[in-house]
Amino acid sequence: MPDMGCRHAETKVIPYLRGELKGSERERIAAHLEGCAGCRDAALAFSALLDELTRSTPTPPELNRGRYRAELRGKLANRVWRRAGENPGVVRWRTQVARLLVVAGLAGVLMLLAVRGGLDHQGPSPDLVAHDETLIGGQLDLLQRYPVIERLELLEDLDVIRDLDRLSAGREG
């Protein structure tokens, strides 16, 4: 089980092996390795492993540099072209689609307005109905006295008829 010194050394051994530690820190790790057989063995093993890995780094299959650059140029041109939208055919097509969408949108808004207007004319709104009902309700007692009013109007008409002869004589005179 590593003590605190070993734990501290865990993250310092590799920088120590690579010569990345300076001054007192380097001396402290050197002193620890001298006194701790476990860490010293680990440091030796790590050093051997790093040497082995550096020496034996696998190499990839040969790269055809000319083909690589030609491909890269093609991909780059494609990407730049796509981002900037420099293809006239695509730009024209996109413009036409945009115009169509705007026209369709306007037509849709107009249709919606027309449909709503038509609905408004088809019948009174609930508010208007309520208003009419209130007026009718207020005049209901007049309607109940309608026969009396009708009779009064008839009497008035009879008076006019009776006075007709007098009226025409007066005009002639």
Partner: protein, 192 residues
């Protein structure tokens, strides 16, 4: 006098294609090799390194010059490769079940430098090396990237931290754990 990488990158930000070609010339081999070390597939390594150059061209203006150009570019490349591995992990596992070895790629033995010592003595060494690199391939992606940037690109810990976008302590822990795992693998292989 040759312009520095940083100077070329600033020129690329102003869409100087000659400067871009110059950077590609300087870095294409290293970029391809590092990508291959991570993904272990020549075609994918070519695609990913080319994608890194395209990102460089598109994002050159965002290079602030706080880090070295090589660190900034490695960061783009390593992130692309790690993302690629993450996305294709399940597919790779299926393929490895179907075909344990990829016939189009040279084996670790074929890729190793020509032997300088007695061939009989080297048989054991080559075997160890094959196991060693197979163990590197089994490390976690970030541990493997840290090891590769360390042994292959010979980057100092501070630069590896900048490439992997983590602290130097994290890089040291990655390396320590990776080497501990490799040591155990080699130890158990030697005992077997």
């Amino acid at each position: 006098m040759e312009p520095s990488d940083e100077e070329l990158c600033w020129r690329v930000a102003n869409r100087d294609e000659a400067a871009f070609d110059r950077l590609v010339e300087r870095y294409q081999q290293r970029a391809y090799r590092l990508a291959w070390s991570i993904v272990r597939d020549a075609e994918e390594a070519r695609d990913l390194s080319q994608e890194a150059f395209i990102r460089l061209f598109e994002g050159a203006a965002s290079f602030a010059g706080r880090a070295r150009f090589s660190t900034w570019f490695h960061r783009i490349l390593v992130n692309l490769c790690l993302d690629h591995r993450r996305r294709h992990r399940w597919w790779r596992q299926v393929l490895s079940l179907v075909s344990p070895t990829n016939g189009s790629e040279p084996s670790i033995i074929e890729q190793a430098p020509a032997p300088l010592q007695d061939p009989v003595e080297d048989i054991g060494r080559v075997q160890d090396m094959r196991e060693l690199w197979a163990a590197v391939d089994r490390l976690s992606p970030r541990q493997r990237a840290a090891v590769l940037l360390h042994v292959q690109e010979e980057l100092p810990t501070a630069e590896i931290a900048a490439v992997l976008d983590c602290s130097e302590t994290t890089v040291r822990v990655h390396l320590h754990r990776a080497l501990t795992t490799l040591r155990k693998t080699i130890g158990s292989a030697a005992r077997a």
